[in-house]
């Protein structure tokens, strides 16, 4: 079962690129650390970084070569309303070669549902991005995630799981609307010590309303640690 999943995940970028509209493929590592600072105050830090490996535009050859696309540093403060609902505020600092560094404020509410042997996570998030010489960009996004254990009826330490998520994002900047969709499929391992490791594909599509429809595919792998 695990082998089949790996073959599917690793083959997906090739299938997407074969369709001819791929703009890039690259690596997307991320690290997340969360801990409770007080009884009902949780701090989460995250670093995620995108590293391009190949760019391709329609009717042209693929342009192979490494480049650093962007790196985000995020910090969040959150509180739980109950075991299933949490409210969180955050800040992001982005390093982006070729562009000014940007700042982002983030607000989110999240809901956890337990359905039989799997979990569903709902995340509603608003963010505002501030960059020198650019108008403020406002975004509203909703992400639904499924976490499905592979080995048992519930996800326990030492076991593998699958994660699927989809997130439509609406953006508004200088009166112009944009739309992006992010789909993630990954294989994860819930390890001892409240840590998870995940690896999979992050497939992003945007610029639906203009001529340059864009697809970005990342091989995303992450370490999620809770102290």
């Amino acid at each position: 079962m695990k082998r089949i999943v790996w073959v599917f995940l690793l083959a997906l970028p090739m299938e997407v690129m074969a369709q001819g509209r791929v703009s890039n493929f690259g690596l997307f590592p991320e690290f997340q650390l969360g801990f409770n600072a007080a009884e009902n105050l949780k701090i989460t830090g995250k670093i995620e970084s995108q590293h391009g490996m190949v760019d391709k535009t329609e009717n042209s050859d693929a342009d192979w070569g490494y480049y650093h696309n962007q790196t985000d540093f995020q910090g969040f403060l959150g509180t739980s309303i109950n075991p299933f609902v949490a409210i969180t505020g955050g800040y992001q600092y982005r390093l982006e070669p070729g562009s000014d560094d940007s700042h982002r404020s983030i607000q989110q509410i999240s809901f956890l549902q337990r359905k039989g042997n799997y979990k569903i996570g709902h995340r509603i998030r608003a963010d505002q991005t501030f960059a020198p010489n650019d108008p403020v960009e406002y975004r509203l996004r909703y992400r639904i995630s499924y976490e499905i254990p592979i080995e048992g009826q519930s996800l326990d330490p030492g076991e593998f799981y699958l994660v699927f998520s989809d997130e439509p994002i609406y953006s508004l900047q200088s009166g112009e609307s944009g739309f992006e969709n992010r789909f993630v499929a990954a294989l994860g391992h819930f390890s001892e010590g409240s840590q998870k490791f995940q690896a999979g594909i992050d497939y992003r599509t945007d610029r639906f309303f203009v001529s340059e429809f864009r697809q970005r595919t990342w091989f995303k792998f992450g370490w999620y640690l809770k102290l």
Binding site: Q32, G34, T44, K46, Q74, F76, I81, N82, P83, F84, A86, T88, Q108, S110, L112, R114, K119, G121, R123, S145, E147, E151, G152, Q153, S154, L155, D156, P157, G158, E159, V163, S165, G188, F190, S194, K196, Q198, G222, Y224, K226
Partner: protein, 190 residues
Amino acid sequence: MVLRLACFFSFFIPLLSLGQEKVEREYRVKSREVPAEARDWLDDSFEGRKKVKWFMEETSGKRSFEAKFSWNKEAFSVEFDLSGKIEDIEIQQEWANLPKEVKFNMESYFNGKYSKWRIEKIQWQYLGDPDDLEDLMDEDEQEGIQLRYEIEYYGEGEEGKNLWEGLFDDEGEIIGRREIIIPPADNLFF
């Protein structure tokens, strides 16, 4: 006799563990790894059942085999010790199927302890010796059987807002409870 004594004393264990956290690990095992005694008991007691999924369950240091399957449109979970001897049978049920008096007693407990509560999952738990449990399944014979209710519920009260697993006797009186800790799911939200 030994089993009856064990059942009697196990009745009080939840009282001692009041307030403990539920730490559980469960993973799939192959049918051939399960003792023949357990597989044979299942074959004799549940004729016509569909495919069984076998698990190894580790709860607070105790290990056992667990068989999960559907039978007569109900979800069954049957637990065996490592030698293959049956420990209990659990059947998932709806709130509406509980006896009226049991529901009344449980509601009294929940209303007295919590300002807001919600049932998440109900399992009827049958305890008894292997022959009595087999008779219960194939002949609906209740002799020598002890019934308890394992209820997963959410409660808001003076202790905060928590998820619990409560064990109730056959009349719906609380025996014990332990807090359920949901494993971290930050990967779904950040």
